[in-house]
Amino acid sequence: MIRLMDTFESPLLGERKRAIRKIMNPTTSKGTNTAIRALILLLYLVLAVYGLSVDNSALLAVISFALLTALCFLTPALLHSAIAGEREKRTWDFLAVAPLTASQIILGKFSAGMSAVLMLMLACSPFFLMSTFRPVDPEMSLSYPTTFVTQPQYVLYIALTILTFSMALAAFSILISSRSRRAFTAQGVILGLEALVLLIFPTFLSAISTDRIYVRLLTALSPYSSVSGSLDRAVEGSDFYGVGSDALPMLIPPLIPCATYLIFTVLCLIWSERTIRFADNDVRFVKARARNS
């Protein structure tokens, strides 16, 4: 893969190569990296065993939610230190004096994070394919007569939702990282806001009312709601939403959340690029008191 990338001479690819080497290199001496790799491999094996023992719809639901949840943690974990970590480890100056524009640095970091996300999604793609195209066992279909994947295009929507949400999360992580002094602070802020948007806010909204249209709209923009909706549509007779599968299709088409995530991605990347412009950091990130002392 690295040799293939070498055929392109873009400086952006340096970050991707470094990220892939970091993830793939088994000889790296960092124990945590090895532990994370082992954990992902173990989860993957568990999913593989599970996938062979359940029907297609159950596998699709499990793999969708597991992948989405994994990426909710993995994306910030990969990118929270993208800029703040460089600043903290004092490696930032080397990038800042290199002939790279701010956009190239930001896009390099973004593409590095997305490479890891895509690798994980590719690793999970056999499960998506299996859940969509695996021949139905007649005996199993008798026990679960209403849980077939009848509309495969919604599986694609699920994958798109997960991918675009990961892109938004990656861009948001870079934005917070570029505006933080310390990587640890950036990580805390990203996970805190994620919990607020994905857990606390939807719970609060559902406590108010689920009937009002703006509540439904906001809820539908949550990746979990969006994936649930697509699952409902993909799997005839299921009700992951808990409100009836026919309640939302006309209201929020599956591609609307994806488009929203993409717009959010672009906005975050533009804001990040503006944050790390030429000579900005010395002023922005040195406390006024320290500058004047």
Partner: protein, 309 residues
């Protein structure tokens, strides 16, 4: 060629660098001397395009730091005083990453990496993880990173800090070699005797102001117009001081505690040769006659007051 013209940096009322101007030619190695907070790092950061000047500018081979920072960045290698390295990669991978950034074609990269590793004496550490290298080796790897794109100007901010004497000696040799290769090198350091050993130019800065700039000998002479000549004589010292004082260019002569004659000479090398000839002609048996080595530390202490911004 590096040309700095009226470079100035202010933070509110504080003037960190005050209208700095000087020029360096290829092959020049400048020792940039100043106390902590004098403005050395701020100057280096402005030249390296990391910090925007308040006024004035600098240009490297015609590329202006404000108008064409990208052009400047291709021509400079910058090594900050405190730095970190990516610790999850091998030495060659680290260099490959930056070679890629600097646009070196992939086919050329292995040979470029091998060359800079050889120049910095890190060939044996090619496949070692960066975090496993000693501080001195990391310093050299950082220098190797500065060299991957063959820059015309090297900005080394306190490169010898934290190094043991052997590593310092190796670094000194390396900087000398870079000067011989025609690169302009700016080295800021507190270890003044070392700078005198390899710098051909020196700049003394205090409170953002360049107090002295020029060739090492030139700066020393501007501060210390007379040279000190030490003469050691076998036997009686009677009459030596009087003989020396009678010679042209001698402003003072005395015998120090160690028994050697210290002569302050304001004249030329011609006068110095004449002084030696006269002393020998008068029958003084001289077994040592030497000019005191240039002492940057004395120059630095005379020029500066220890004030910081």
């Amino acid at each position: 060629m590096l040309e700095i013209r009226n470079l100035r940096k202010t933070y509110g009322d504080l003037v960190a660098v005050r209208d700095l101007s000087f020029t360096l030619e290829p092959g020049d190695i400048l020792g940039f001397i100043g106390t902590n907070g004098a403005g050395k790092t701020t100057t280096i950061r402005m030249v390296s395009t990391l910090l925007e000047p308040t006024s004035g500018t600098a240009s490297i081979n015609g590329f202006d730091i404000q108008r064409d920072p990208m052009g400047v960045r291709r021509l400079i290698g910058y090594m900050p005083d405190f730095f970190g390295l990516y610790d999850d990669v091998k030495a060659w991978e680290y260099l490959d990453f930056f070679a890629n950034i600097y646009g070196i074609p992939s086919k050329q990269r292995p040979s470029v990496i091998d060359n800079v590793l050889e120049l910095t004496d890190l060939t044996t550490k090619r496949d070692a993880f960066v975090q496993s290298l000693s501080r001195g080796m990391q310093q050299r790897l950082c220098l190797a990173r500065c060299l991957v794109h063959d820059p015309a100007l090297l900005l080394l901010d306190e490169p010898a800090s934290g190094l043991d004497p052997r590593a310092r000696a190796e670094l000194r040799e390396l900087i000398l070699e870079l000067g011989r290769m025609g690169k302009i090198v700016i080295v800021s350091s507190h270890i003044l005797p070392e700078l005198a050993g390899f710098c051909n130019k020196v700049g003394v800065i205090e409170r953002g102001e360049l107090l002295a700039f020029g060739g090492v000998g030139e700066v020393v002479r501007s501060v210390q117009p007379h040279r000190k000549v030490h003469a050691r004589i076998v036997g009686e010292l009677d009459g030596v001081v009087a003989t020396a004082m009678a010679c042209a260019g001698v402003s003072d002569a005395r015998i120090d505690n160690s028994g050697s004659v210290v002569i302050d000479l304001q004249g030329s090398h011609e006068d110095q040769a004449e002084l030696l000839k006269t002393l020998l002609a008068k029958g003084h048996r001289i077994f040592e006659f030497r000019e005191e080595a240039v002492n940057l530390e004395d120059v630095f202490l005379k020029l500066t007051r220890g004030d910081v911004n």
